[in-house]
Structure formats: structure tokens, C-alpha cells
């Protein structure tokens, strides 16, 4: 930074970005060896779904994080992509189309893109709240159509297909789940790379500008509507690919794939992962699969927990998990992470206490409501609770109250500490600037 020369710096030397290659290498490596580490069939199922969710969340974030467009109906594009992919797959099975199965997701992508061209033209005429409202309307429209056209949408039962079809390429039939996993991993890696590349193109940068200040964009020569529209189409393409992969994975597509719940999931988890940074939605996608597959197995109250987490995230960390990570990396890069380590452990401990207390009460309520027939006893974190017993309720409430009290004490301490650290960093930055 100090090496800024005095001759006019119209050209800046940019060193070869080693860090970026390392990160992309690691990303590929993780996807390569993940099925060797988690070998059970459940984990393989989850891994394939993570790959699909990564593409979906990243595509969603092209709009939300990079373009400031809040779409409430984005499952439309992945869902219609799914339908086109499964119909294509069935054409292949019937021998009417000579397309390798591995390219079927591309059909989904082109389908998603085509619908984005069509519907996005209306949607992107407006920005902000009107945009959100129109996407909501379009989403409902397509959902309603799915009931009206059973020929295409398959009615209640959906459309099913068989991915083990056509001539195998290099002996790959996509019968075993692991073969499909690697196909999806390949798609995920390429799509991630493409979407990252998109952020570094003129259109990608102008999309950021439109997010920040659409009015000014009009005065530097750009039509904001076109910027939004083209980004929407690109996003629709990648959503469609995610949908196509999902069709191959589940081998069945039902009308749920276009509904508002699915759209909401993309929004919720993209936000949880963090819309500010490019990699945020990847974290969100992992969380999405963990919540939808694991948490829903673990407890019936999973949607409640999810809602609570989302609420707290919006209130306390609106940048999502990725921005929490980046803030701490910043602190670490100034060598100031050490003093706040203790606070993190304390926050985690007290937070877990709150969760245990609250969780016990929530589980007891759910148990009373849903599992009346099984009697009042239930297992919670290894302990046996009696949902009708005073002791259990008192104990849970006690743990909760103590947890909240301790958490608040630790939190206040931490907020002070954090402010102090930030101040020190600001000073450090000023000092470094003065050196230049």
C-alpha cells in the first residue's frame, strides 16, 4: 500500500491473486472429497441437495444482494425449469430425443431463462416494493396455473421420470446416487464460477450501481430497467439449472416446486447466509438443507426454531452469517481477535442455556398438542421431561431465565468490548493512512 508512486498512478500493478486460486481450489476439493468423508446414503442425499441449493441461492442473490431486487416468486423459474427438465427426460426415455442425461439440467436452465425473458419483462419494469409485489403476483399466477394445466404440471401426483435412461456415456448411468452427486457438483462449481464472473463484468457492476442509486444510473447513460431485466434473465437461467438438477435428483416434479413456500425458502436462507457477500448464499444453502432435511427430522417444531433464528438474525445481524464471518476476519487481520475469544465462548455457553430452556418448553407444548396419545413423558436432550409435571416446567423456566440473565450480562460486556476493538482498528487505519 505504501508503494504508491508519485508519477500519476493511471496504471496500478495488481499482483497475481493467489488467495483467490486457493479459495476456488478448496471449494472444488471440498466438493470432490465430501462424499468420501460423509459416506452414508443420507449424507449423500443431503450433499446433492446442498449443491442444488447453492446454485439456487446464488442465483436468487444475483437479484437480492447484487441488484437490490426482493423477489417473492423466484421458485417459479427453478420450478418451471424442473418441469421442462423432467419432460425432456421423459422424451429421452421414450427415445424421441437423443440428448445425454447429463445435459438435461441445461434444458431446465434455458427453460428458466425463457420464462424469465417472458415474465421478467413485466416484473423488472419496476424496482423496490412494486417489484416485490409483482413477483408475488406472478408467483401466485404460476401456482394457480399449475392447477389449471394438469397436462404440463401433472396435477396432484406431479410428473415422474427415470434418470437411468439413454445410452450411458463412459459407463455413467446416473443410477448410483454418487454418480449424480458428481454431476451436480460439477454443475455447482461451474455455475458458482460463472455467477462470480458475472459480478466482475460491466453488467454485474452496473447492477450494483442500480441497487445503490437507480436515479443516478439513468444520468450516466444506462437504462435501469434493462439492467434489472438482463440480470433477471441471467438469474432465471441459473434458477432453471438448479430446477433441472432437482428434477434429475428426485425423479419427480410436483406443483410444490413453484409455490410461495419454496420461494420463501430461497429468500430466507439467502438472507441467513448473507446477501452482502458473494459467498453468503453458499452458507445459506448448506443451512437450508440442514434445516429442511435434518432439523425437520429432529423436531416437529423446526419451523418455529427457524422463524426464531430468522427474526434474531434480521434484528441483530442483518448482514447474515457471511458478514459476521467477515467482521471477525477484519478483527483478526488486525490481530485483535484474541481478547474477545472469551466473550464468544461465554456467549455461546449462555446462548445454549437459553436455547435449552426455551427448547424444553417448546417441545413440551408441541408434545402436548401433537402427541397426546403417547403420554406426558418425552425425551429432550437426553433428559426425560414430563409435559404435565410442575417440575419439568419449573426447571425449564428456571434454565431459561438464568440463561437469559447470564446472556444479557455477557452480551453487554461483549458490546463494550467490540466497540473498543472497532475504535482501536479505526485508529490503526488512520495511522496507516498517514504513513502513505
Amino acid at each position: 500500500m505504501v508503494a504508491q508512486n508519485d508519477s500519476r498512478p493511471t496504471y496500478r500493478f495488481k499482483p497475481y491473486n493467489v488467495g483467490r486460486w486457493v479459495i476456488w481450489g478448496l471449494y472444488a476439493l471440498v466438493m470432490l472429497i465430501a462424499p468420501l468423508i460423509w459416506t452414508s446414503s443420507l449424507s449423500l442425499t443431503m450433499l446433492t441437495q446442498v449443491g442444488i441449493a447453492i446454485i439456487g441461492c446464488l442465483a436468487f442473490n444475483m437479484l437480492l444482494g447484487q441488484g437490490g431486487m426482493l423477489s417473492f416468486g423466484h421458485a417459479v423459474y427453478s420450478g418451471l425449469g424442473s418441469y421442462l427438465a423432467i419432460h425432456t427426460l421423459n422424451l429421452v426415455s421414450e427415445g424421441r430425443l437423443g440428448l445425454p442425461v447429463s445435459l438435461v439440467p441445461l434444458v431446465g436452465g434455458l427453460g428458466g431463462m425463457a420464462f424469465a425473458v417472458l415474465l421478467g419483462f413485466v416484473t423488472t419494469k419496476k424496482a423496490g416494493t412494486p417489484f416485490a409485489m409483482i413477483t408475488l403476483g406472478v408467483g401466485e399466477l404460476v401456482w394457480a396455473m399449475s392447477l389449471m394445466f394438469p397436462g404440463f404440471f401433472g396435477g396432484e401426483g406431479g410428473v415422474s421420470g427415470n434418470r437411468v435412461t439413454g445410452a450411458p456415456v463412459l459407463g455413467i448411468t446416473f443410477g448410483p446416487q454418487v454418480q449424480l452427486y458428481y454431476l451436480i457438483a460439477l454443475y455447482t462449481f461451474i455455475c458458482t464460477a460463472l455467477m462470480f464472473a458475472f459480478t466482475r463484468t460491466p453488467l454485474g457492476r452496473m447492477l450494483n450501481a442500480v441497487r445503490d442509486n437507480p436515479e443516478r444510473v439513468e444520468f450516466v447513460g444506462y437504462n435501469t430497467q434493462y439492467v434489472r431485466y438482463f440480470a433477471f434473465i441471467a438469474s432465471g437461467f441459473f434458477m432453471g439449472i438448479a430446477g433441472g438438477l432437482a428434477a434429475l435428483n428426485f425423479e419427480i416434479v410436483t406443483a410444490e416446486v413453484v409455490n410461495a413456500v419454496r420461494s420463501g425458502a430461497f429468500l430466507l436462507f439467502t438472507f441467513l447466509g448473507g446477501a452482502v457477500f458473494f459467498f453468503g448464499p453458499i452458507i445459506g444453502a448448506v443451512l437450508m438443507v440442514l434445516a429442511l432435511v435434518l432439523l425437520s427430522e429432529l423436531t416437529q417444531a423446526w419451523l418455529l426454531y427457524l422463524g426464531l433464528v430468522f427474526t434474531f438474525m434480521v434484528m441483530f445481524a442483518p448482514g447474515g452469517i457471511s458478514s459476521l464471518i467477515m467482521m471477525n476476519l477484519r478483527v483478526a487481520s488486525f490481530g485483535k481477535l484474541r481478547p474477545i475469544w472469551g466473550s464468544y465462548v461465554a456467549l455461546l455457553g449462555t446462548g445454549a442455556t437459553v436455547l435449552a430452556g426455551a427448547g424444553a418448553m417448546i417441545e413440551m407444548v408441541y408434545h402436548l398438542q401433537l402427541n397426546e396419545a403417547l403420554g406426558p413423558e418425552l425425551k429432550f436432550m437426553g433428559a426425560t421431561l414430563n409435559a404435565k409435571g410442575f417440575d419439568s416446567w419449573f426447571g425449564a423456566a428456571f434454565v431459561l431465565v438464568v440463561g437469559i440473565g447470564l446472556f444479557e450480562i455477557v452480551r453487554r460486556h461483549f458490546v463494550r468490548q467490540w466497540g473498543q476493538v472497532q475504535e482501536e482498528i479505526e485508529k490503526e487505519i488512520k495511522k496507516r493512512e498517514a504513513l502513505i
Binding site: 504508491q4 500519476r8 498512478p9 493511471t10 496504471y11 496500478r12 495488481k14 464472473a197 458475472f198 466482475r200 463484468t201 460491466p202 453488467l203 454485474g204 457492476r205 452496473m206 450494483n208 450501481a209 441497487r211 445503490d212 442509486n213 436515479e215 443516478r216 444510473v217 439513468e218 444520468f219 450516466v220 447513460g221 444506462y222 437504462n223 434493462y226 439492467v227 438482463f230 441471467a234 493512512e433 502513505i436
Partner: protein
């Protein structure tokens, strides 16, 4: 240049930006096609007429300051010229070509750029990115998603060049929202001139600045608008007399005088209308202080 009858000493360069295909319109203004021309422009909001038949012809290369009491319609006039609002009637011409009714981006592509009274930046982008966004269209990048910005040498060089011109190269990678007020004002000007427009509209560029900052800023504006047609709305008379070749006095939506500074100063109507109301303002301010 003090003689208003003499032809402008600056070379006409109106044709350069609007392309060779332009049919040569014959407008009697020393034989030069005006860079900006307003012909009986009117604008009403509801029943209130804000701009009431404004006519003005600015020669290429001229620096014109538009002054007038509060509410005279100076900013509205800028909004009409730059396409933010449509006019109710009348013609607005840029290099002899009608531009009223066009969208802001279409007018910008024809070679007119403007700044805003309240800094209007891309707050979450760095200073460099702000400038690069401002040059992309003028260099023909359009909506390209098949090429990298890093390889766009001309755009990067131009952005760095403007960065130097507005003297923010030390703040290159700072987010626009973290700049000081004066730096944001400088960036505002930088974005405006970056695209290389031949006609520049600056809406109160020095508003809210200290005396020393203002003096520095006047120099900056003069440097970055060399060879360009400049229209500026300004309240600070020091800036007006330091910057402008000509002054247009706008009172209640009408141009009551348009001349070199010396003559405007001596103009009886201006003294009556403008200084009269300025006097009233001063008296009101003094009354408010008491």
C-alpha cells in the same frame, strides 16, 4: 469576451458530440449552433407554473451561471434540461437537436451530464467503482456480461484519470458512504464529468462548503470543465463571478437578464428583482435572528 457582440473566442465544438449525421440547423447566433437552447419553455406542477416561458441560448464552450432568488425555478430548469421532468411546453435543444421528452439516459448519451444538489452517489461502491460506472456507457461497454471489467483498460484508465483530476486518488478504494462531505461533493463532480459529456450541468456544486473549500472547489471545477459548456446553479456570488463568462438571472420562472457579469451587475431590472428580494431575504434573516 466582455463585448457581448463579438463572436465567442472559444472554438465551437457542438457538432463533435452529437455525431456527423446531424443536419446543420441554421440558427442565428453568431453563426454558431448553441450547445443548449431553451425556447419558451414552460413547466407547471398542477396549477402552479414554475417555469414561465424561459428562453436561453448557451454557446458551446461558455460557462453560464444561473442565479436567482429561492424558488425561482433554477433546479427545476436543470431537471427539465436533463430529462428528469418533462416540460409542459416549449423546446429544449442540445446542439440543435430536440431533447425534450427524452429519458435522462438518452440525453446523457447525447453528451449532457449533470450533478445534483444533494450528493447522489453509489454509496456502497468504492470511489473508483463509482467513477468506473460513470464511464462505462461512454466507452461502449453497454450491458456487456461477456467481458471482465479488469480487462477494460480504457475504462480503468479513464476512471483513474478522473480520480486524479478530482484529487481523490488516495481514497480510491474507500466506499463512497465513508467519504467526508467535501470528498463526496468532489466525487459528485467526478461522476458528472467522467463520461466526457460536452455539456455539464452543476446544481449548486459548492453548497454547504466552507470558504476555503469553496475556493479550492472553484479551481477544481474550472480545471475539469476546460473546453466544455458549463451551466451551473449557484448561490455564492464569489463562485458566480469567479467561474462564469455569463450570468442568467432567473426570477419567478423567467430569465430577466442574460449577459456578461459586469452588465448583469449594472442591470436595473436585476437589481430591482434579484437584489430586492435578496435584500428582503437578508432582512427576514436578520429579523429571525432577533
Amino acid at each position: 469576451m466582455t463585448n457581448p457582440g463579438a463572436p465567442s473566442a472559444l472554438p465551437p465544438q457542438g457538432g463533435a458530440a452529437s455525431g456527423p449525421a446531424e443536419p446543420a440547423p441554421r440558427r442565428p447566433l453568431d453563426g454558431v449552433v448553441p450547445a443548449v437552447e431553451l425556447k419558451d419553455v414552460r413547466k407547471s406542477f398542477g396549477k402552479t407554473e414554475i417555469i414561465r416561458g424561459t428562453s436561453l441560448a448557451v454557446k458551446p464552450g461558455e460557462r453560464v451561471a444561473i442565479i436567482g432568488p429561492n424558488g425561482a425555478g433554477k433546479s427545476t430548469l436543470f431537471n427539465l434540461i436533463s430529462g428528469r421532468f418533462g416540460s409542459t411546453s416549449g423546446d429544449i435543444l442540445l446542439h440543435g437537436e430536440k431533447i425534450d421528452g427524452l429519458k435522462p439516459y438518452e440525453i446523457n448519451r447525447k453528451g449532457l451530464a449533470r450533478s445534483f444538489q444533494v450528493s447522489n452517489l453509489f454509496m456502497r461502491l468504492s470511489v473508483f467503482e463509482n467513477l468506473r460506472c460513470a464511464v462505462l456507457w461512454s466507452l461502449g461497454y453497454k450491458y456487456a456480461f461477456w467481458r471482465f471489467l479488469a480487462d477494460a483498460r480504457d475504462a480503468n484508465d479513464r476512471a483513474d484519470e478522473v480520480l486524479d483530476m478530482i484529487k481523490l486518488h488516495r481514497r480510491r478504494d474507500v466506499l463512497a458512504m465513508n467519504l467526508t462531505y467535501a470528498e463526496q461533493r468532489a466525487l459528485e463532480i467526478g461522476i458528472t464529468i467522467a463520461g466526457g459529456a460536452s455539456v455539464i450541468l452543476l446544481d449548486e456544486p459548492t453548497a454547504g462548503m466552507s470558504k476555503s473549500e469553496t475556493a479550492r472547489f472553484v479551481n477544481l471545477i474550472r480545471e475539469v470543465t476546460v473546453g466544455k459548456t458549463l451551466l451551473t446553479v449557484e448561490h455564492d456570488m464569489g463562485v458566480v463571478f469567479g467561474l462564469a463568462d455569463k450570468i442568467a438571472v432567473l426570477v419567478y420562472g423567467e430569465v430577466i437578464a442574460f449577459d456578461v457579469p459586469e452588465r448583469v451587475r449594472g442591470n436595473a431590472r436585476v437589481q430591482e428583482a434579484y437584489l430586492g428580494s435578496a435584500l428582503a431575504e437578508t432582512q427576514a434573516a436578520q429579523a429571525a435572528q432577533r
